[in-house]
């Protein structure tokens, strides 16, 4: 999902920045609210961010014979929602863009929009939906983490397709880009789903009050 530096036309760079910035600001306000009103959540918030740090630093091999990055956004999305996840992802993506030349400053808006906003938002709403259907908690977490990862790459494919329509139009190039990302990504997303299911189970056993509080007064 890291679109390389300079590989989106200027119009699209600005376009995705404009869409991403309000969410990042919203996320920053959420985080400062957590620090003010619920300091006992600080450590868990740091752990949710830490998973994004670890997982998005890894290039994992897939059955297709290529490697790709997991996103690591599932836990943050479930616990703190997409806006907060947008802020956490921005920190990681800036680190990678400036220090690793991975992704880029011009494409930052697009990358934050896919990995930090839409992916986690889909994960978050899937979690809420499965929760209202009273599905087992492990399945809720698994599906949310898998979708946070996969939808990130669906959005990246769409962003690339909009910028580079093939002769058959946006739809054709969307399918080309999706073909590169999606199959490679599926095993990684499942792996992420398993890891987060395990960690969430651990979290709800070690900090039951905190989890209850988080889902009690979360909007």
């Amino acid at each position: 999902m890291h679109i390389s530096e300079g590989f989106l036309p200027l119009f699209w760079c600005i376009f995705w920045y404009i869409l991403a910035i309000p969410f990042v600001i919203w996320g920053a306000r959420n985080v400062s609210k957590i620090y003010r009103e619920r300091p006992e959540q600080k450590l868990t918030l740091a752990v949710a961010g830490a998973f994004i740090f670890v997982l998005s630093s890894l290039k994992l091999p897939s059955v297709t014979g290529s490697t790709s990055h997991p996103t690591g956004t599932g836990l943050a999305a479930i616990l703190y929602g997409p806006a907060t996840t947008a802020l956490l992802s921005t920190i990681v993506l800036v680190f990678q863009a400036l220090l690793l030349a991975h992704g880029g400053i011009t494409t930052l808006g697009a990358d934050v929009f896919s990995m930090g906003i839409v992916g986690p938002a889909v994960g978050y709403f899937a979690f809420k939906l499965l929760r209202s259907l009273r599905v087992r908690i492990g399945i809720q977490v698994f599906v949310a983490a898998v979708l946070s990862d996969l939808m990130t790459y669906v959005v990246t494919s769409l962003q690339l397709a909009l910028a580079y329509p093939a002769t058959g139009g946006v739809q054709e190039s969307f399918l080309i880009f999706l073909g590169v990302f999606l199959v490679t990504q599926i095993p990684l997303a499942i792996a992420e789903g398993i890891l987060f299911t395990i960690f969430f189970d651990y979290l709800s056993k070690s900090r039951p009050k905190l989890i209850a509080q988080q889902f009690g007064d979360e909007r």
Binding site: M1, I3, S4, E5, G6, F7, L10, L43, A46, V47, G49, A50, F51, I52, F53, V54, L55, S57, L58, K59, L60, P61, S62, V63, T64, G65, S66, T67, S68, V92, F95, Q96, A97, L98, L99, L100, A101, H102, G103, G104, I105, T106, L160, Y164, P165, I176, F177, V180, F181, T184, P187, I190, A191, I194, L195, T197, I198, Y202, S206, R207
Partner: protein, 96 residues
């Protein structure tokens, strides 16, 4: 089944998936999808060239180091949390 066993099985399953990926592709280059995309963009749009280059690009060895640093920061925080919770639970039990 004990919780710890379930966790271990889950993690083993994840590791097995990556081992399988490597085993079934003995000759694959395992190039990154992000890099693959660049060549596809140029195929769809032959005239396109990047209009902005990274301000600073690390040499491959330094890049490996920085990726490791990124992972280490995250792993440190997760490890700190697990240790913190473990000690807290223990202290709670001793108090009761």
């Amino acid at each position: 089944m004990k919780t710890a066993t379930k966790y271990a099985l889950g993690i083993l399953l994840v590791i097995a998936m990556f081992v399988l990926a490597i085993v079934v592709n003995p000759n694959a280059a395992f190039g990154g999808t992000d890099d693959l995309i660049r060549s596809i963009i140029q195929r769809i749009n032959p005239g396109y060239s990047s209009w902005f280059t990274p301000i600073w690009e690390p040499k491959p060895e330094v890049a490996t180091l920085l990726f490791a640093v990124q992972a280490a920061i995250g792993a440190f925080v997760i490890g700190y949390f697990i240790g913190y919770m473990r000690a807290k639970t223990k202290a709670q039990k001793e108090k009761d």
